[in-house]
Subunit: 683 residues, 2 copies
């Protein structure tokens, strides 16, 4: 049935947009007219292959349409050449080449849409949304002419307007230096890189390349106080091309955040020193990941940056002194969108940067990135998200409401200020099991596969040695000590345990647990147990405070973020009473959530608006001002007891019983603990 | 007559805006409601004194209003204190303090309007329009509060919105480093500096100062290939606070433009070297003018930059190679608005920059600045504006139409490639008169007050000596040689003149004129005369080409810009035939027109839009493509003869007559001159 004289009907799926076409009209043109989201970078020249579509063959009686592959024109010469070069999948056509001959239903696969969701790769990976800020577009620019003294940029902007309907193009000054050479090297055919921070922003030219070159790479950076991680990311797919990490060189000005704040307060050049140090580290990482991907740092077009408030301020060169004292006022919490060069980053000359927003004085852009990646606001379920570092950032909420707070957990979870403690590094004990009868421990060391009681351990461990116990190790040690009856629910060493002999020893006035005998000896002291109790009580108190505020008594899922959060066993976290009771299979590590959030902000304009809105929507609870925080803190010092509201936990382990005491031992003692100083109440 | 119960009538002059007010309402509030342009920087706190108004006392029967000073409330306490501090002129009231009690007519004097014209100071000065891009506004910011973790910037932005109705404030990243200290130093009372490049641009915070400090300074820079001039300007008044000039350090890479283009083409680092050199020179000038005004470079908030296309490109770090060869394509001609730091200028950390637009490959941003200052488009008169350098930029036009071209005058007008030539500097002969009988010259030397034939000359000239002849000197020498009959209308030395003896001498095959005997001897050779003829012919040919295109046979006024344009005597320019016939009193030096244009762009947003529109509107004529240019060039080689269409000139001097020849001697010879090579036709 020929339809020369009447208009042909076209339906696009999955959008469902439909309309009519003239016979012979190109598919891409029709799609544009109907507002169908089909990508294209080469402007219909059969080069980029982004506009691939399929004919949905079949009868659509409700529409009165019979759709057949033959209702499109045959494969064009350009299309055939493209197919030879890039292997066009069976049945795929280029919308810029195929002409419509008769009624047809066209399926636009996800990879041909400009706005798309990248399929997640693992269960704990969030799908990376693609809503590009930068588009590579091929244009042909009119050569200059004596009779018309327009500048190269003017003619380029006109080509962009004519071919892509993008008007009002401005140029980043840094691009102008390369413009003329690129135009001539490409023989007036260039790929322009156009950045639009927001839908309504003026389009900005941030790069010009000879010929067609649609490579787009960006960098997602997570600035931790200890380590900095950088992920080189393909902006088309969200795929990580290379990742590298480095120690934060600011450590030489102060190990923890407060020391760095002090350095900035005491040294006139302190802020500048730390600013330059972190910028240099990011530049080195950028060069490293680029090299690994066969690129150069100057190929990186965009960078997103997340970090806690002190890291955030130091990156920007802002003295963090106000973050070291009440009322902990941030200089700025809004997301920032400077040129990368303006914050000292050496990427592409006109590269852009996006600094994620901060939530509050203790809840930084890294926490915002975690929240973006974990998306509590997208679910009906009540989610609890905890990012554990020196402070724990805690989010609780769902689609309707989200609360945020920060709790001062201190350094115990990082293995600091623990008698045999150390950072998580090869040689550190990371897993501990205690025999319920002999009370002897077996353990696992980072960098050594077999457990300490397994065959071949001595040989295997000789590479690293055993140097100490890291955060997850001390958590498991204390939890196992509790389950084994070495300490009671209040955290005190039990005399009865020592009476049986075994690995307990008197040390001064108190007992000490010998986790490992020999050289070096690894001990767990009463002070270590107290330090872990203070840390976990602070964390749980923060969680309870948010649960009170939310008016909920339980949470549907718990996500643990941060290096420590990814490393600990959720079971032990719960035995310790770090986190509230919850079905154990619903407690999961969040993976590199801050990095994922930073990557989402890199590939998606929508994700940037999302995190900005999310941060504004969050209700921030200041723990220092909440009277109930102290109350919760005191109550959270003890360990979970059977029948104490830990039903889910009790399904997994046998919890100690209150042992005939009218109230658990812990309860009695808690009142005497001074949570302010962290000092241990002496009885 | 009390009017408590009915609304009171208020009329503002000169705007004529009128409306009603409630009794007791503040004048400033009423003015705002009615959209009356009244300035204010302190937000109604009687600090800035910008909102001064007067009551126009009298009866306005047509309006039915009796306006009396007493119809405003009495002097308030704050107003009295302000008056003591800043001397409020008699009868002036602060609109932010005075309350309306009864019908009143209020006069808003020009100095209280945000948009105003600064009265011109001299006849050749254009009034500097004020339409500020930056406003200093006093705000009181809410202090931070533990219970509300908003950032300092968020609270500052809210204060700006609440007090000034400016919403959507963004901060330049560089400002954030100073923000917190300024807020605390000012005890939460700060002056914010808000920049809006365009009416529709998002307001940008570029500075925060403790307390009230409304100082606003900017820098207007004219980058010449030989010298760079910088004018520190008060952005409120347009007044020049300090001016400094320096040699363009790019001279060490090439004396003239073409040598610099060559340097950029030959040396891989050439562009960067010259870019860094000019930026360093501007930074040094900025520091110098700031120091002279008792400020620092970091107090400079905005900079405007004008220069010819090569200077423009080198400032931006763009290789100017394309400007050295046809078709002379500019990389960019649009005005650019980068941050000053992004083009390597060390001013205030968040200072802005504005690079004026270029007109065409040979007509740069300096010429655009001249056009802005001279404003041919504002008049009905046909204006001819000539900016003379190695190239002459020529504008011809009026309100309806403006033409632009560039003509290759070569270096003769700068004293280069002239036998005894030199730059205009102390010791150079700048004025010449030749006795019509003896043919001897008297002259004036730069840096020496008396003429060479005056008493005390020898003593006076001993300070500088006589070292050569500069551009204006050679122009006058050749013109006087013509009027004295030493050379004929074709420029040839006349044998008859030599026959009489006197200061003519044979040198090789031709004659030479001894302008000054003794040590050093200053000579004018046949080649010198030819060089001046070629230069002036190129200039006049460009003018004639534009006049042809415009279809006009005369111009109403002529303005001469540039160092040479300001130095030459218009009479001699016309005797030489550099410029077309025009009433002599309508030929004027334009003063420092490029600098004035740059200053206008500094103080006025409207002026920026004006020059951008003007440049786009101009019709660019490429002399190299115009067949008639060669024709005009050949015809323009000779000197004006009586009866040859130089009526205005003939009123001032006695021009030689064609002396019985059927055609002037010059005419016969002209055909043989090769204007392309500039070679002199041999007979």
């Amino acid at each position: 049935m020929r339809k020369d004289d009447k208009s042909i009907r076209v339906i696009f799926t999955p959008s469902g947009r439909r309309g009519t076409a003239r016979r012979g009209q190109k598919l891409l043109g029709v799609a544009r007219e109907l507002g169908v989201d089909i990508d294209s970078a080469c402007g219909g020249r059969a080069i980029c292959g982004r506009c691939q579509v399929r004919v949905a063959e079949g009868d659509f009686p409700r529409e009165g349409i019979r759709s057949r592959a033959g209702h499109l024109s045959g494969i064009s010469e350009a299309e055939r050449r493209h197919g030879e070069l890039r292997e066009l999948p069976e049945g795929h056509r280029l919308a810029c080449q195929a002409r419509i001959l008769d009624d047809v239903v066209i399926d636009v696969p996800p990879e041909s849409q400009i706005h798309r969701q990248l399929v997640r790769k693992a269960a704990d990976d969030r799908a990376i949304p693609i809503d590009p800020l930068i588009r590579p577009l091929l244009v042909e620019v009119e050569p200059p002419d004596m009779a018309n003294p327009e500048s190269d940029f003017t003619r380029l902007a006109r080509a962009v307007e004519e071919e892509w309907h993008i008007s009002g193009l401005r140029a980043d000054t840094a691009v102008l230096t390369d413009l003329q050479a690129a135009l001539r090297a490409g023989d007036w055919r260039v790929t322009v890189l156009i950045h639009q921070a927001r839908e309504e922003s003026a389009p900005l030219l941030i790069g010009v390349r000879p010929g067609f070159d649609e490579t787009l790479t960006g960098l997602a950076v997570d600035i931790g106080s200890t380590t900095i991680a950088a992920h080189l990311t393909d902006l088309h797919s969200g795929e990580v091309l290379a990742t590298a990490g480095a120690m934060n060189p600011q450590i030489r000005f102060g190990e923890d955040l407060m020391s760095r704040v002090s350095h900035a307060m005491m040294e006139p050049e302190g802020t500048r020193q730390m600013r330059d140090a972190v910028r240099a580290a990011i530049n080195a990482l950028a060069a490293e990941v680029a090299a690994r991907a066969g690129l150069e740092a100057r190929d990186i077009l965009d960078v997103t940056l997340a970090g806690n408030p002190v890291m955030h301020h130091l990156l920007l060169g802002i003295n963090p002194r106000e973050l070291g004292q009440a009322p902990f006022a941030l200089a700025v919490d809004e997301a920032l969108e400077p040129r990368a060069a303006d914050i000292g980053l050496s990427l592409a000359p006109a590269a852009r940067a996006y600094v994620l927003p901060c939530v509050a004085g203790h809840v930084g852009a890294d926490a915002a990135a975690v929240a973006l990646a974990e998306a509590p606001h997208e679910s009906e379920e009540m989610s609890l998200i905890i990012d554990i570092g020196t402070n724990a950032e805690i989010f609780l909420g769902n689609r309707r409401r989200i609360l945020a707070c920060s709790s001062p957990t201190g350094p115990a979870f990082e293995g600091a200020q623990i008698f045999s403690g150390q950072r998580a590094a090869p040689g550190a004990i990371e897993r501990v099991r205690i025999d319920r009868k002999t009370l002897r421990a077996r353990y696992k060391v980072i960098g050594c596969e077999p457990w300490s009681d397994a065959e071949g351990f001595e040989e295997a461990v000789s590479a690293t040695g055993v140097s100490g116990i890291c955060g997850s190790g001390i958590v498991e040690a204390v939890a196992e000590m509790y389950l084994s009856g070495i300490i009671d629910a209040s955290g005190r060493f039990r005399q009865e345990a020592a009476d049986n002999g075994g690995p307990l020893r008197r040390r001064g006035r108190s007992l000490v647990y010998v986790l490992r005998a020999g050289e070096p000896e690894i001990l767990v002291t009463q002070e270590d147990v107290r330090a872990v109790q203070l840390a976990k009580a602070a964390l749980l108190a923060g969680v309870r405070l948010l649960m009170d505020e939310m008016g909920t008594r339980e949470v549907a899922r718990i996500r643990l973020a941060g290096a420590f959060g990814n490393h600990i066993d959720p079971l032990y976290a719960m035995i310790l009473g770090m986190i509230p009771d919850c079905p154990l299979e619903r407690v999961q590590a969040a993976g590199n959530a801050a990095g994922t959030g930073a990557r989402m902000a890199l590939t998606s304009r929508a994700a940037r608006r999302e995190v900005e809105t999310l941060v504004r929507r969050m209700e921030k609870i200041e723990t220092a001002l909440a009277a109930r925080f102290q109350e919760h803190f005191v109550q959270a010092m003890g360990f979970p007891l059977a029948g104490g509201g830990w039903e889910n936990l009790e399904k997994a382990v046998r919890l100690p019983r209150p042992s005939g005491q009218p109230r658990p031992a812990g309860r009695r003692r808690r009142r005497k603990t001074n949570p302010k100083t962290g000092g241990d109440a002496k009885s």
